[in-house]
């Protein structure tokens, strides 16, 4: 198209490849970069290269770690309870749980969930590494904190069967009404889970 010169077309195309970024947004971002300083553009480019060159995976928990830092800071921290492993799908889930300050154990990052539709079986996830940790002994509890959706539930069921012979306690995070939510507007499945997961009211 007249006016759309090659370097501009190329950046629009690359931005469009990112998830949730359509052509219009990609155009807007591209013209922003065009107007921004060269330093700003270089900083983003350097951060993109940096994340590929300076990120590695922890050999213990499989979470991302800075290149050369293995095991990761969390796995190396002697103040964390080593007998408790919280299993999550993605590195961002570790951040979410850390933000709560409620969990003081270790993590294991699967990097995905079982999804037959997408052709993702347990062998595509970091399940072997998790089984090794469980069979090595010293683990009292594995908390399955995969997402409360179809894939996450399937993954939790699979892992529960896999780990039960080796670990004293395999638990699943509670599913129920979100705090601040409204019973009237809750979906049926959440309400059913909420009833099934009911607990005695402490005096």
């Amino acid at each position: 198209m007249a006016g759309l010169i090659a370097p501009v077309a190329r950046l629009i195309e690359e931005f469009s490849k990112l998830p949730g970024i359509g052509t219009k947004t990609a155009q807007r971002l591209t013209y922003h970069v065009l107007r921004a300083s060269t330093d700003d553009a270089r900083a983003l480019a350097a951060a993109l290269i940096g994340i590929k060159e300076n990120v590695a995976y922890c050999s213990v928990c499989c979470n991302i770690t800075e290149a050369g830092v293995d095991p990761c800071d969390l796995c190396a921290d002697p103040r964390r309870e080593s007998g408790r492993i919280c299993v999550v799908e993605e590195p961002l889930d570790v951040l979410a749980i850390e933000r709560t300050g409620e969990f003081r154990g270790r993590y294991h990052v699967l990097h995905g969930a079982i999804s037959p539709i997408d052709g993702i079986g347990p062998e595509r996830l970091r399940t072997r590494e998790l089984l090794s940790r469980a069979t090595a002994g010293g683990i009292e509890e594995v908390i399955l904190a995969t997402n409360p959706n179809l894939e996450g539930e399937a993954t939790a069921m699979y892992l529960a069967d896999l780990l039960r012979p080796h670990v004293a306690s395999v638990t699943r995070i509670a599913r129920g009404l979100p705090v601040g939510g409204d019973l009237e507007y809750a979906d049926d499945v959440t309400l059913i889970r909420s009833l099934q997961g009911r607990r005695a009211v402490e005096r």
Copy 2:
């Protein structure tokens, strides 16, 4: 925060600087890049550098052009009417007008609009270059195609006064109801413009 390693934090921060990208979206994009291939990340980084290194401004119309291509393809095209200049705010506006196929003249890109609130006066825009083109002679019509908002209107009024002594005809694109729109839902200002801009129905 535990788990948020430096290269990841840095890319989240850089993505957040882009317009319309909040922290959550920046996190999502960052973890997408982390999972994507190194080639994909490098391609985006190269496109970012490329747009700063390979884009220049046409010395005639001030639109962006590939480095070394001056005047730009549109200004160099002998098939375009050289007596008609369409003035727009941004390079993307040139694309929008070219898409219609309705205009066969030349362009002039201001790179912004007059905005006293943001401290942008006419001297910050490419108005001097436009005046030079107008005073050089041979221009029958200048079409002011700045945006139909406060800044765009102010810019059009300013340019009309500036150019009128030098150009036979200074016109403004029509403002009115968008095609496919609904009179009932049109805002008052648009409706007023639409009435003011009424034209005799051709037989």
